[in-house]
Each structure stands twice: as C-alpha cells, then as structure tokens.
C-alpha cells in the first residue's frame, strides 16, 4: 500500500517550521520519527495534504542538563534517551523504561516529541512524563507556553496542543533526594506494546516514611493513568507489605480502567496491574532506602 500524495517540506529551522505550520493549517502534519505516522499513512488511515518534516531541524534535537531539570528537544530520538548519561543519573526511571519501547530499529528513529504527541495509551513515554512531573513547551508562530504533563494528555491519542502548535521541548525535573523508582511491564514479546505497565516513584522522608508516591499505568484508560487515591494510602506512613498490598488492590480494582483487547481481558489486565504495582512499589521503596 502506498501513502496518498502530499506536499513535502523539509524546513531547516524551527522558525521555518512554525511558519509552514501557520500557513498550511489543519491539513498539514508534522513528521518526526514517522514510526507511528508513516504506518498510518501507508494504510491511508491518515492522508495529510502537507507534510512538514522536522528531521532537518537540528536545533530540536538535544538533551541538556540544567540546574534542577533536564531539557530534552522534541526531536531527540528514543535511542538517545536510552544511552544518555544525564538521563541515567538524573531521571533513572526514564533510563530504566526506554528500552521497553519497541525495538532498537524503531527507537533509532522514533522521537520523544512524536511519542508524546501521538499519545497512545499503551505508550511508555507519556506514562513516564506524568510520573516524572515533566512539562512540555509548545510553540506557535507568535507565542510559546508550558503545559504540565497532567494537562497535556487529554484522551485517547489526544493532547492539549493546538493545531498550529509544535511541541518543542520537554522539561524533566531531577529525581528528588531519597526517591526510588521502578518500571515494569508485561508484553507478549520483547518490544511489543505492553498489555499492562506501571511506573512507580516513591520519595521517603528522613524518618523513612513515605513522603510522596506516584503510580502511573499504561494501557489502563484513555491515556496515561495515575492512581492518586491508592498512593494516598502510603503517603505519611512507613511503607510495609500490608500497605503495599492495599495500595495495589485499590489501584488495580478501583482506579484504573483497562478496556481489554485480543491479547488480554480487562480482568487479566487488572490482575497484571496488581502484581506489577506490588513489585514496582517494593523495588522503588527498596531503592529509595538504599539511597538514604
């Protein structure tokens, strides 16, 4: 199958890309890694009249360490995130989870910006951005604005971006002190979209009580899904197995909303969520303790 014809532009600066986006309106699509867009075009599910290729906009491809946060350009490849020493040190949760995204051949091309804007509920990066409290910088020809991860993902394959906006940068805060992390998922084969996945980050206080806990799930609703009620059971308490059990039960039975698919019923997804929640919490708490 071949994609329908389109007008092709390959801007070399962000300014040019923004101008093209402003001129060409809603019929224009941005092309990042193409690992989600091109399959859709090959099947003609998507038929943009204009394609604005961001691959020559080199100013959007970077990973930078600042005082309290990492800044990542929207065109940074998933493979770059995987091997970046700053990310390994400052956002170990992200470092641990990126290898679960597809295969190296896909990560060599796929970008962080493309994955976030695609907003697949089964994708890892949106879940991680929510768990890490990241924020996204969106730009159009006349202004820029920051959008918190919790406001960015608004539904199935839908974000808060306006049609004339380009996602240009992602800001990821450093992992706080005394925090531990864990990411686990279950997929039919390595590299496949997961049936269920959980990102956990737990911060302890000086006395070893849980100061903050975050649990974010993939494939558990219309977008990345955070279990806020469940983590409140842990917060303020010294973590123990009974609390972890209760947290996992509440999150998996009440808070998440998996739809089920050909590989797994919703019930099985809830079962996986429960098991993975327990395991990720245990690992995150253990790591937080080790780092004290």
């Amino acid at each position: 199958m071949k994609p329908a014809p389109f007008e092709y532009h390959a801007p070399v600066s962000l300014e040019q890309a923004l101008e093209l986006k402003a001129q060409s309106g809603e019929d224009a699509k941005l092309l990042a890694g193409g690992q989600s867009l091109v399959p859709a075009m090959n099947f003609r599910v998507v038929q943009p009249g204009v394609l604005i290729d961001l691959n020559r906009v080199s100013e959007l491809s970077y990973i930078r360490e600042e005082k309290k946060a990492i800044r990542v350009g929207a065109m940074a490849r998933e493979r770059h995130l995987e091997f970046d020493p700053v990310i390994e040190k400052r956002a170990p949760l992200l470092h641990e989870a990126v290898p679960f995204i597809a295969h190296p051949q896909i990560r060599n091309r796929g970008t962080i910006g493309g994955s976030l804007v695609h907003a697949d509920p089964a994708a890892e990066l949106p879940v991680l951005m929510l768990a890490l409290n990241a924020r996204m910088k969106a730009k159009n020809i006349s202004r820029e604005r920051w959008i918190e991860a919790k406001d960015f993902f608004v539904g199935m394959f839908t974000t808060a971006l306006e049609p004339d906006e380009i996602l240009v940068e992602i800001e990821i805060p450093f992992m706080p002190p005394r925090a531990g992390w864990s990411f686990m998922e279950v997929a039919p084969r390595a590299g496949d979209y997961a049936l269920m996945g959980v990102a956990a980050q737990v911060t302890l206080d000086e006395a070893g009580k849980c100061k903050e806990a975050r649990l974010v799930y993939l494939n558990a609703g219309e977008g990345p899904l955070e279990a806020r009620e469940a983590t409140q059971l842990l917060e303020g308490e010294p973590p123990n197995d009974i609390l972890i059990e209760e947290t996992a039960a509440l999150a998996s039975e009440k808070e998440i909303n998996p739809f089920g698919n050909v590989h797994a019923s919703a019930e099985f997804q809830r079962h996986l969520a429960k098991v993975l929640t327990k395991r990720t919490l245990q690992q995150a708490i253990q790591r937080a303790g080790e780092l004290q």
Binding site: Q35, V38, R109
Partner: protein
Amino acid sequence: MTQPISITLTVNEQEYTREVEPRMLLSDFLRHELGLTGTHVGCEHGVCGACTILFDGESMRSCLIFAVQADGHAITTVEGLAKDKDNLHPLQQSFWEAHGLQCGYCTPGILMSMIPFLKQNPDPTEEEIRHALSGNLCRCTGYQHIVDAVKLASEKMK
C-alpha cells in the same frame, strides 16, 4: 510540491541522484528505482523487520522512511555486505554454515539488524541475541538456527 524532488544519496558507498515523488517509501526506492531487491517488504508498518537497512550506520525500517528523507544520507542494504559472491560477509557466512534461514524472506532484515548489534555487543549471550532478534519476524525457522548463526558470527567477527 507533490511533484518529484531531486535527491542525492549514497547507497552501499555508491552515489545516486534520482527524482522521486515525496510519497515514495525508501524501501520501494531501493527496490524499484535502484533494483536493489535484497531489501524485502513484508508488512509496511514497521512490525516484521524484513525491510531493515542501515541509515547512517543505524538500523531502521526502510518502509517507515520516505526516500526524500534520505537525501544527503548514507544507506547500507544487504547488497553492501559481501564484497562479491565468493566472499560473503562473516555474518552471511555464519547464516549459511549454521542454517540460519529457510525461505530467506526475513534474512536481509535480520542481517542488517545484527550488524550494528554485533558491533555494540561483540560477545553476546544467547539471551541478548534473542532479545536483539525480537524486532524481526521469521515464519520458517523457529529462530533456533538464527540464534546459532548470530553466535557463530560473533565468534568469527572477533
């Protein structure tokens, strides 16, 4: 600009200049414009891995890249591995010796995935090899002999 665009790229160390429609996939460009039919096409949505090539040395799906995007870049296809038919690349030689293929449909994509893998992991375990093969589907072999072939290649290429 749905009309053809002129591109110049390097494929297997040879430079080509061609006019291409923007919607032409790199996989089709290699096969139909350059006659390099070693790059196979299975699914055209990134899943099977048969079309895997090297793009500036990194393995990628040629079915998910437009030929116009390869302008100015260097592509390596399976045809670029062997010097001639009597001098197979050690990876190819290993697939031959270890029976790493049956129909051969998946083989070019697997070879082009394993070249950078073995460069990064010169002494891989079976577990690592199996993981690295997960992005390439084979409908014939059951993978066992492919794993053996990659292991053999890692020894030959040391």
